[in-house]
Amino acid sequence: MLETIWFALWALLWGIYLALDGFDLGVGILMPFLARNENERRVFHDSVGPFWDGNEVWLITAGGVTFAAFPTAYAVMFSALYAPLLILLFALILRAVALEFRSKLANPLWRKKWDGILFLSSLAPALILGVFFSNLFIGIPIDQDGVYHGNLLMLLNPYALMGGIFFLALFCLHGALWLAFKSVGQVHMRTAALAKKLWLTTLILALAYLGMTAFHTDFFHKPGAYVPLAIAVIGLLCVRFFLGADRLIEAFLSNMVMILGTAFFGFIGIFPDLVPSDISPEFSLNIHNAASSPLTLKIMFGVVICVVPIVLLYQWWVYRLFSHKITDQDIDGPDAY
């Protein structure tokens, strides 16, 4: 029972991470295509400035909780997927530095270089997260000792690549919705228009990915998976509805629901496994053979149940505090990027 609760918490933390960091990754990816001058680039930067750091901590927490609650799964998952995880890590490092260093000098070449790095280091995590989770969904070649018998190319199978592209589109849509909400004038018009196109792209890719999921996995044999799937579908439809009505914050929140629904669809799909083995189901790491002792699970449950709601409250407060639309005045301000 405790293990099942922990599986749900584990899924929730990953879901929150994707739903939050997704938009600032999307903003970084869209910037070279949508921002036409320095002022507009600063709008892009300012739209994520106060948030990206707090968002990324959800990844640290999701990783830390994997370590604490399912240490064997953490050990196998991270060592088996060594190369993609380290690329993800390097991307996150460079991204943070690009965001922080860019505005420190006025030199256009300096800024251009960091903008380029921001684009690449936002693109890579979006793709890698898609590839990473898709491989978990179909299982990876691990033996009874959790030793990985594969290589990097095997991780880049068609299903995983489809997952990567789907995540990419989803995060771009998420970023465009956020930007449309946060900006005014030209940038607002352009991002809102793009969001509509990205919505259609995401819908098509979602259907394709779902079709491949039906083919490659047994998720559709699990009645529980239909609930989050329905929520994801409703979320995505609401995105288009609210976009059409120019209610952007609602559209953005709907897309968060869509991302959470998608994440839970996948996690309920693999439940009770955490890291399925495609060599033999006996070698899969599941909530029973990978979990921590009941004592550790209990203590960590107490910590998470007490602290995470508080975190959500103060992050909510910070989002409210900086929810204003970014105008020229903000960009000229002393605290702007």
Binding site: D53, G54, T61, Y74, E100, T296, Q315
Partner: protein, 434 residues
């Protein structure tokens, strides 16, 4: 090449690089919090300028500290998966608690502080930097509780082929870890004091904004002096803790081979671990080691020969790191005292100002040396007397580790150089632009 060796090297590179940025984050956040509190209480704009100027340097430093910290959390899984599997039940929870209780707080409120100057009240703004400072230091506590458990594993039972948590309270009350924690954070606060004094000294030598930098200098001088002394005191207690829990490390720190009562301390030693002896021993202070380790001149101190060869840490590295740390620690107390005494007319003491500028890197070196003692001195164990480092690595090919090690080397070198260059640039610019 050997995957154990490569993984150790990678961990050493990434953890030491991380620790270039952490101590200043821990100490400077506190100094800024005190400055901004002065602003809130007095309304004097100069304190606001101080908070902004030092805050700018703080933020550049902070960025790299955060991202290089993520590396470490990932690496237990990527490179030390057998370790993670074996002790994750105890160790993993400490890391997870760190993220939930401290890291969120720090990362969220740093944004309030950075972007909130015109958005929240003065008091709320000052509260934000206090939260950042407190969260950073709490973060250090949980990380050091995790490291302390590797040094002195407590509160666990061996069950199901791994170490499982038996008593959480025992883990968080680990006396060894608390000793390490206080020694580390006070050293970090001292480092921030010397950092502030060094930059002030640079400007005072050039007579820039004398009032601004003299005021800032006084904050730095207080921090440096108070915490140089306290760090040394905690260091002494930490040494006694090592004597009690890790006698092999203590023997390596002193390059002490034969167990004896009335153990002397030698001022100058050249270790010869190959032949299990010292080539040179000079300047013996009778019974000093016994007194330092056990407060008792007749207490026997275990020598390295009391431990089987395969259980001895690398002697020369541990010994030299320890001497560097202690030697520098002594110099810090002396210089902090001089700077503090002359703090009100420091601009007239150009020689001491010059020394303080050049001194900026040395607290970093001392802290690194201290961690080298802690980590090298624990070898050959990853968890003392419980798991060997050689049994802890991931089953990954050495080629992968070599590739990632080179990538870390290149990326970290470039980012580190840029970061230090940027801090230097903004430090030299002074507060005119903030």
């Amino acid at each position: 090449m050997d995957v154990v060796w490569l993984s150790r090297l990678q961990f050493a590179v990434t953890v030491f690089f991380h620790f270039i940025f952490v101590p200043l984050t821990l100490g400077l956040s506190l100094i800024i919090a005190v400055m901004e509190t002065c602003y809130v209480r007095s309304g004097n704009e100069v304190y606001k300028r101080m908070a902004k100027f030092w805050g700018k340097l703080f933020l550049i430093n902070f960025a790299l500290g955060v991202v290089t910290g993520i590396t470490l959390e990932f690496q237990f899984g990527t490179n030390w998966s057998r370790y993670s599997k074996y002790v994750g039940d105890v160790f993993g929870s400490l890391l997870a608690i760190e993220a939930t209780v401290a890291f969120f707080l720090e990362s969220t409120f740093i944004a309030v502080w950075t972007f909130g100057w015109n958005k929240v009240s003065k008091r709320t703004h000052a509260a934000a930097i206090w939260l950042v400072a407190i969260a950073g230091n709490i973060s250090a506590l949980w990380i050091i509780l995790a490291n302390g458990w590797m040094q002195n594993p407590v509160g666990y039972v061996m069950k199901n082929g791994r170490a499982e948590l038996a008593d959480f309270f025992e883990v968080i009350a680990n006396p060894y870890a608390w000793g390490q924690f206080f020694h580390t954070i006070t050293a970090s606060w001292m480092l921030a004091g010397f950092f502030v004094m060094g930059i002030c000294a640079w400007h005072l030598l050039r007579k820039n904004e004398v009032d601004f930098f003299k005021r800032s200098f006084r904050f730095g001088a207080h921090f440096a002096l108070i915490f140089a002394v306290i760090t040394a005191a905690f260091g002494h207690l930490e040494g006694q803790s090592v004597a009690k829990y890790q006698p092999a490390k203590l023997a390596a720190m002193e390059s002490f081979w034969n167990t004896e009562a009335h153990a002397p301390m030698h001022l100058f030693v050249v270790p010869d671990p190959q032949n299990a002896r010292n080539i040179v021993e000079f300047g013996a202070i009778p019974s000093m080691l016994s007194i330092l380790a056990y407060n008792d001149p007749s207490a026997p101190v275990q020598g390295l020969l009391a431990f089987p060869k395969e259980n001895r840490p690398p002697v020369t590295e541990t010994f030299i790191s320890f001497r560097i740390m202690v030697g520098l620690g002594g110099i810090f107390i002396l210089l902090a005292l001089i700077a503090w005494i002359w703090r009100n007319r420091i601009e007239n003491h150009r020689r001491i100002l010059n020394i303080l500028v050049w001194l900026i890197p040395f607290p970093y070196i001392a802290i690194m040396a201290g961690w080298a003692v802690a980590e090298i001195g624990r070898q050959p164990w990853i968890v003392y007397n419980l798991m060997r480092t050689t049994d802890a690595v991931s089953p990954v090919p050495s080629g992968s580790v070599l590739t990632s090690l080179i990538a870390f080397g290149v990326i970290y070198f470039i980012l580190g150089a840029l970061d230090i260059w940027l801090i230097g640039r903004f430090a030299r610019k002074g507060p005119a632009t903030v």
